[in-house]
């Protein structure tokens, strides 16, 4: 199993330039310290060196990031973190902030890759996130655990397919609208456009001209050839043909309705796209990310154009931006739809512009008159829009064009031009019959061209709609399959969480949490729990401590299942998580952790000395390899300092003659506080409860002194020392340990007497052989002995002792 041997931390959060380091040597750790003494900084450092993310800082909120808050504010030096681990064969590997985890290979690389999936650190502030998240966020929070990346890519391909068919439906519908518009306009159809209505309208015109009607539209093409041959018989035909050519072109002028529809669609697409863009929850919008990526790729920049901080790894930044861009699938799909819509409008405008250009040329060819203003003004409006829609205009700009275009009366312009050309044709001699034939010929041409196009486009619409429905159904099946698979997985999570919960709350009619994947929507996860037979949102009925432990159990369930999936990564970090839980349930939690996660290396922090002690006792019974470390003091410049009575003992003993009175009094005071906390815990001596958890000498000494005086065997040996301390421990406060302005400075003799007594008391209560403090034993009843039996103080032997 991979184990952490050492964590070296400098200049990180509350930890200053001197550490201290965590020398775990493969053991688990419980770290005790008051609030604000740097416990969580070790958790931050461990998490960051492994994942390059901080779950306490990198939470997507403005002004919060590791970059801004990771460094110790009193230090000018950059953060330094070095982690040493040992592999299952005993080999050692190290990892520091200068290493790029993505480039690590081999054993360490594989282990780090598991760490990077997260889910091994739980903090008090994140403990309830899973319970309090809305169902969509809850689902998303499990995404790295579910590891459905391959399947989600597969789903995304289906969604792309759905979008493609939807685009094709729209394109074919636009073609249908074009051909329908042409036929309706030229044949003056008031009914819906169909083969029947077109045939009927054309036959009426043929009958009026004294020609037989057609049986089907298939005959129009042959009729058109006949009419063309008939037209060749008329004089002045050359001039008439040119005028007729203009008329034909005028008839084929594309209607503006498809362009208007396209512009309306484009406005909607822009609005939809903008709403998606605004909905992107984290950091920069995709367009800014894309722009930033382009700058980074093209430029030789020293600083990131997005966050203005110097690059530490340009490739990693670019890779991260690309990942975030790829993550916005819906956004990208919407962008593609937007582009399709824009291109459709541009194509329509290009067609209209081209036709207008041809009309102008045909006018010049057929007449010697100046080009009519009506025609020119259309060109002036349309031509600039072709280049404008080469790129995506703003929503407001499209709306404005929609208004301008909607106001155009193309029919009126066509009628005017038709009249102009008609009058010119009328003035040509002997061409009355020609005009009639010419009109029939023109309409035949319109029908041949547009009806065939209409039939083909209608078939394309039907085909695209059918395929779109198939793809849409496929997408629904893919989503359903994912939800069913996820439901099975989250059921396992809930089952495991319930099992762990029952170990903390045995016999209580509460628990039975259920996770249910909602059938509606892309993915959301409902959470309920049972409370005396009622199944509700746990927050509705559970107490605060029951909610806390439920949050803990869900986290642990995911950790356990992840450990089963990746057995080589078994690290569990709990940062001061049992805040509102009573002592009995803490005890159960300790037992549960030691039983269920004994295959993990654990790092547990707490500010509660009672829980620390109870956990220590539980570990003692379990035989697990655990370290217990107490943070005794903290300062901005020095960072945490271990509560180490041995260091204070050595200082007092070795510097009795040379230390200043204040220093001696303070160091002896710390020695006494550490000593008495251990003694009161080991000997079950009651001390007054302090809500702050801070136990000073003035609180600890009187109960111990009272107990010592009642223990005749101990007091016989320790009376002089105890009386000295009782008469001199005031120097601890006078020496400024608690920021008091002293009216009477501590004298050298007073400080020395206090320090000497503290050293002597240490020798009386801590065994030099086994290194343990004396503790109360059951038999012989109430004797005070150390573990190895070298120190023994007998309760019932008055005035004597077998001590030492």
């Amino acid at each position: 199993m991979t184990l952490i041997r050492q964590l070296e931390v400098r200049n990180v959060r509350g930890i200053g330039p001197f550490g201290p380091d965590l020398n775990l040597d493969g053991a688990s750790l419980m770290l005790l310290g008051e609030n604000g003494t740097g416990k969580s900084s070790y958790v931050d450092a461990l998490e960051y060196v492994l994942t390059r993310q901080s779950s306490s800082l990198d939470i997507g909120k403005r002004g919060l990031s590791w970059r801004q808050g990771g460094q110790n504010i009193a230090s000018k030096l950059p953060p330094h973190i070095k982690l040493v681990i040992s592999d299952n064969k005993g080999g050692e590997h190290s990892l520091s902030l200068s290493d790029d985890p993505a480039k690590l290979t081999g054993y360490l690389g594989a282990w780090i890759a598991k760490a990077q999936q997260g889910g091994f650190v739980l903090r008090r502030r994140t403990m309830l996130q899973f319970l309090e998240a809305d169902p969509k966020e809850r689902y998303d929070s499990l995404s790295s655990f579910l590891a459905l990346d391959a399947y989600e890519r597969f789903e995304s391909a289906i969604k792309d397919c759905v979008q493609e068919w939807q685009d094709r439906v729209k394109k074919a519908q636009s073609q249908v609208a074009h051909y329908t518009g042409q036929l309706r306009q030229h044949l003056s159809l008031s009914t819906s456009v169909s083969s029947e209505s077109v045939l009927k309208a054309f036959n009426e015109l043929l009958t009026t001209a004294g020609r037989p009607g057609l049986k089907s539209l298939d005959e129009v093409s042959a009729l058109q050839t006949t009419l063309e041959n008939d037209l060749k018989k008329y004089d002045g035909r050359e001039k008439a043909v040119k005028l007729e050519a203009f008329q034909n072109l005028l008839s084929e002028l594309p209607p503006i309705e498809p362009i208007l529809l396209g512009m309306q669609g484009l406005v909607q697409a822009i609005e939809h796209h903008q709403s998606l863009e605004q909905g992107l929850s984290r950091g920069f919008s995709a367009s800014v990310l894309r722009e930033g990526l382009t700058w980074i790729e093209q430029g030789d920049l020293a600083d990131c154009p997005l966050c203005e901080h110097p690059f530490t790894d340009r490739e990693a930044v670019m890779s991260r931006i690309r990942e975030r861009l790829e993550a916005n699938d819906d956004y990208i799909r919407s962008q593609k739809a937007l582009e399709t819509q824009r291109a459709a409008v541009k194509d329509g405008l290009e067609g209209l512009s081209r036709s207008l250009g041809q009309l102008v040329k045909a006018w010049e060819n057929a007449t010697e008159a100046k080009i009519p203003d009506e025609l020119l003004s259309l060109q002036i409006i349309v031509n600039p829009l072709v280049s404008k829609y080469a790129n995506l205009p703003s929503r407001d700009s499209v709306s404005q064009d929609l208004e301008t275009f909607g106001a155009l009366d193309l029919g009126r312009v066509q009628a005017f031009l038709r009249k102009e050309v008609g009058e010119r044709l009328n003035r040509l001699p002997g061409l009355e019959g020609f005009r009639e034939l010419s009109e029939l010929h023109r309409l035949a041409l319109v029908i041949v061209t547009n009806h065939a196009g209409l039939v083909t486009s209608q078939q394309q619409v039907a085909s695209a709609q059918s395929n779109h429905a198939q793809a849409e159904h496929l997408s629904q099946l893919a989503m359903q399959a994912r939800k069913e698979a996820v439901q099975q997985a989250v059921k396992e999570v809930a089952t495991e969480a319930n099992r762990l919960y029952a170990l903390i709350h045995p016999g209580e009619d509460i628990g039975k949490a259920m996770l249910t994947v909602a059938q509606r929507g892309q993915g959301s996860l409902e959470l309920t729990g049972s409370f005396h037979g009622r199944q509700e949102d746990p927050r509705l009925l559970y107490s605060e401590s029951h909610i806390d432990t439920l949050g803990l159990c869900f986290f642990l369930a995911v950790r356990r299942l992840n450990a089963t999936r990746y057995p080589d990564f078994k690290l569990l970090v709990l940062d001061d998580v049992l805040h509102s839980v009573d002592s009995a349930h803490r005890q159960k939690t300790a037992e549960m952790l030691l039983k269920e996660f004994n295959d993990h290396q654990m790092v547990i922090t707490t500010h509660d000395p009672v829980w620390f002690q109870r956990f220590k006792e539980a570990v003692g019974r379990s035989g697990l390899k655990f370290q217990f470390q107490r943070i005794g003091a903290w300062s901005l410049t020095q960072g945490p300092q271990w509560g180490d009575h041995q260091a204070e003992y050595d200082f007092c003993k070795n510097n009795m003659a040379t230390a200043t009175p204040d220093e001696l009094a303070v160091r002896a005071g710390r020695l006494m506080e550490e000593l008495l906390q251990n003694l009161c815990e080991e000997m079950r001596i009651s001390i007054p409860f302090r809500k702050s958890g801070r136990y000073e000498l003035g609180v600890l000494w009187p109960p111990f002194y009272k107990e010592a005086k009642n223990h005749k065997g101990f007091f016989a040996k320790a009376q002089r020392v105890c009386e000295t301390i009782d008469g001199s421990y005031w120097v601890r406060n006078e020496a400024g340990a608690h920021f008091n302005e002293s009216p009477a400075p501590v004298q050298p003799a007073e400080a020395k007497a206090f320090a000497q007594a503290a050293v002597e008391l240490t020798d009386l209560v801590k065994c030099k052989t086994c290194g343990r403090f004396i503790q109360v034993v059951e038999a012989p009843k109430d004797n005070w002995v150390c573990r190895c039996g070298c120190l023994v103080y007998q309760k019932k032997i008055a005035g004597t002792s077998a001590g030492t």
């Binding site: 655990f145 792309d160 493609e164 085909s463 496929l474 099946l477 396992e492 495991e496 999936r565």
Partner: protein, 65 residues
């Protein structure tokens, strides 16, 4: 660790579990056309239908019509 932790878990290969459920749903779907269903069920690579790329699916749709 307790015994229950050693049981096989769905989470161990959720991708594969989801794919298998998807294939079952496709097999039993009466809404999907024969062309689409066969294209998805027969053309696989590494357990994932290789037709499930946009280009291939669009192609299948065109062929089916």
């Amino acid at each position: 660790m307790s015994k229950s932790q050693k049981a096989p878990l769905a989470v161990e290969n959720l991708n594969q579990a989801a794919i298998e459920r998807f294939r079952n749903l496709v097999t039993n779907s009466s809404t999907l056309s024969k062309e689409w269903r066969e294209a998805i069920l027969t053309d696989t690579k590494d357990g994932i239908p290789s037709t499930l790329t946009k280009t291939n699916l669009v192609g299948k749709g065109e062929g089916g019509k």
